[in-house]
C-alpha cells in the first residue's frame, strides 16, 4: 500500500504594488471616461457581492490596482448587511444568482431602506435575460452588465461615472 498526498490550493493573489495598466491598451470599445483617470479611485469604497470566489478575487485584483478599497460579500444576506449597516459604500457591484436571497431581492431591500436607498448599484450577472435586466433597471440599478461580455478594466474605467461623489 502506498499513500499519495496532493495539496490543491491557489492562495491569495497579490500584484506588485504600483501596477498600472498601460493607457489605451485595452481591446474594449472606447470608454466614456478614458482609462488613466484612475487616480480618482483613491479613497472610494466599493462592495462586490459575488458568490464565485475566483471571480470576486479577479475583480478585487483589478479594483485594488486602480486604487479602490474593496469589500467582498459572498451571498445576498451578507451583502445586504454590509450595505445597510452604514459602511457608506460609494458603489456596489451586485451579482444576481446568489445563495439565499438573490441579487434582485437584495436591490429591492436596499431601495426600501432609508440608510441605503441612494447607494449606486451596478448589476454584474451572467444571466442575460430581458425580464431580469428590466427588473434590475426598474429597481434603480445604474447598469445591468453581463460579466462575460465585459473586462475588469472596462468596468474600472466606468466607475467614476457611477460612484457617489
Amino acid at each position: 500500500m502506498k499513500t499519495v498526498n496532493i495539496v490543491v490550493d491557489w492562495g491569495v493573489i497579490r500584484l506588485p504594488s504600483g501596477t498600472q495598466p498601460r493607457p489605451g491598451s485595452s481591446g474594449q470599445p472606447a470608454a466614456e471616461s478614458e482609462p488613466g483617470t484612475e487616480q480618482k479611485g483613491r479613497g472610494l469604497r466599493i462592495l462586490m457581492v459575488e458568490d464565485d470566489p475566483a471571480l470576486s478575487m479577479m475583480y478585487r485584483v483589478r479594483l485594488e490596482a486602480a486604487g479602490y478599497t474593496v469589500a467582498l460579500a459572498t451571498d445576498g444576506e451578507e451583502g445586504l448587511r454590509q450595505i445597510t449597516e452604514g459602511a457608506g459604500f460609494d458603489l456596489v457591484f451586485l451579482d444576481v444568482g446568489l445563495p439565499g436571497i438573490d441579487g434582485l431581492a437584495v436591490l429591492e431591500s436596499i431601495r426600501n431602506s432609508t440608510q441605503s436607498e441612494t447607494v449606486p448599484v451596478v448589476i454584474l450577472s451572467n444571466y442575460n435575460e430581458p425580464p431580469m435586466r428590466q427588473r434590475g433597471l426598474s429597481l434603480g440599478a445604474l447598469a445591468y452588465l453581463v460579466k462575460s461580455e465585459i473586462t475588469p478594466s472596462w468596468l474600472v474605467a466606468r466607475i467614476p461615472g457611477w460612484a457617489k461623489r
Partner: protein, 591 residues
Amino acid sequence: MVLTVAQVLSYSVSAAFVLLGLVAVVVWLRSRDARRGYLALALGMLGVAAVIGPLQTLTGYHEPWLTWVTLAAFQLSGFGLLMFRHTLIPLSRWALALAAVTLAGTAALVAYLGTAAPATTPSTEQSIAALLLIIAWSVCVAEPAFRLLRASFGRPVVQRRRLRALSVGYLGIILILLVSAIPQSGAVSSSVSVATSLVALFMVPVLYAGFSPPAWLRGVWRAREEEDFRDAVNDLLLYARTRAELAERALPWVVRLVGADFAFIIDGDGAILAVHGTTMEIAGEQAARLEGQGLLRRGPEVAASGALIFPMPLERGTGYLAAFAGPFTPIFGAEETSRLRLYAASLTAALDRAQISERLLALEDAKTRFLKIASHELRGPLTLVKGYLSMMEDGTIPAGAPPQIINIMLSKVDQMSSMLTQMLETSRMEDQRTDLREERFDLREAVAEVLEEVRPTTDVRHELEARIPDVPIEVVADKERVALILSNIVDNAIKYSPRGGRVAINVASSNGTAIVAVQDEGIGIAEEDMDQLFTRFGRIANDATSAVPGTGLGLYLARELARMHHGDVEAESELGAGSVFTLQLPLAGPA
C-alpha cells in the same frame, strides 16, 4: 260463471306476478348468485302470495294453513327485498334481525286472530293486525326502494335504470297495498280495485325490467352512453405530454363508464401512475391488498371485493387498471365489465404511444437545459479567463503573472471543458450512441492520472490523500470513460467541500470487484435529496450548492457509464459531515 272487469283484472295481476316470480327464479337458477337469489325470493314469494287467494276462490278450497302460507310468503317477499338491498348496501345485523322479528310477529298475529275468530267481515282487531302487517312489510320494502333510488344517481345508465325500475315497481306495490287496506264502500271499491289492478299490472314489466332487462332494452338505455364511451376512447387519441397526464385524463372516464367510486392505474414498474376519486395513500393500500391477496395473478380480470381489475401489458411491464365499488356504487354489471375491458385495452395502447411524446418532451427539456448551461454555467469560467487575459493584455497584470492566476485560468478552462464533455456524453447517451472502447488496464494508473489533473477550483486548501495498493487492480473497461467517472467524483468532492479539508481516495479490490472510494469532509447530502442525486440534471438546490458551478450531469453520467461496464456508483452521506462516493467495476479475469 261471469267475471266482472275487476275480477278479470285481479286474476291477470295474480297471473302476472306468478309469471314474474317464475322468471325471477329461472334467472337466479341460471346465474346462481346470492344477489339474484334474494331478488328471486322477493318476487317469487310475491307470486306465491298473489296466487293463493285467487286459487282459493276458483277452487273453493279454503284451509287455514293456506292463509298461513300466504302470510309467510308475503312477509318473506318483503324480507327478500331487504336482503337484496343488504347485498348491495350492507345493513347492520340488528336492523336485519329487527325486520325479521317484526315481519314474523305481525304475520303470526294476523294468523292467530284469523284462526281464533274466522269471520266474513273482519273484526277491529283483525283489521288492525292486517294494517300492522302491511305497514311492517311496507317499511321493509320502502326502505330498500328509496335506498336503491338514491343509489341510482350517478350510476351508468343501465344500472341507473335497473335500480330505478326496481324502486318504482316496489313503491307502486306499496301504494296498491295501502290503498287496498283502506276500507271503501261498494261502488268506490270496485273502481278502486280496477285502478289498483291496472297499476299492479303495469308494475310487473317495470319490475321485470329491473331485475332482468332484455338486451334490446339495455341497448336503448345505453345508446347515449355509447357516445360517452366513444368520446372516452377518442380522448385517448388526443395528444398527452406524458403518460401520467394521459392516465390522469383517462381515469375520470373509467369511473364514469362503470360507475365506480374510485379507480387507479398501476404502471408496468409497479408505481401508481394515476389516481381518481381517492388519495394516493388509499390507492397504495388497495394496490398492496390486491397484491397481497394474489388477485393480480389470478386471471385476465377479477371482480373481487368490489374491484374490477384489468391487466395492462405495457411496454415497460404489465401494469393494471383497477376500479373500485363504493358504498353507494355496489354492482358492476356485465356491460360495465366488458366496456371497461375494451377501454383498458385502448388505454394500454395509448399509454405506450404516450411514451413517444414523453420522450420528445424529455429531449426538448434536455435541449432547453443544455442551452441554459451553455448560456449561464459556461459564462462564469469564461468571464474569469477573459478577465485575466484582458488584464494581462492591458498591463494590469505584469509580464510573468503570478502562477496562481495561471492555475486559476487553467482550472476554469478545465471546468468549461468538463462541462462540454458532460453535455456531449449525455447527449450521446440519450441517443444510445455511447460506444465503449474496452481495454485491459490497471485501475491504479487511471486513479493516479486523474489525481495529477486535479486543479484547485477555489481559494481554499484541499488535501488529497490517495491510498493505492501495491498489486495491480486490472479491469476491462473504456479507460477514458473510467477517467471521466473518477474525475467527476473527485471534482465533486472538492467542489462540495467549500471549507477545504481532506479528500481520501481509497483504491481496493474485493470479491471480484474493483473499488475506488472517494471520501470528503464537505457539505454532505440530506437523506431526502439522495434520490435526486444520480438523476439527469438532478442538482440539489440549496444555499450551500447554489454557488457551485455545474451541469447537474456529472453523477448521472458517472453512474450510467459505470452501469454500462456492469459496475455502479453509489453514495453514502451525512448532511454537514461529508460524503463517500464509491465506484465499483468488475475485476478483469486472468489474462
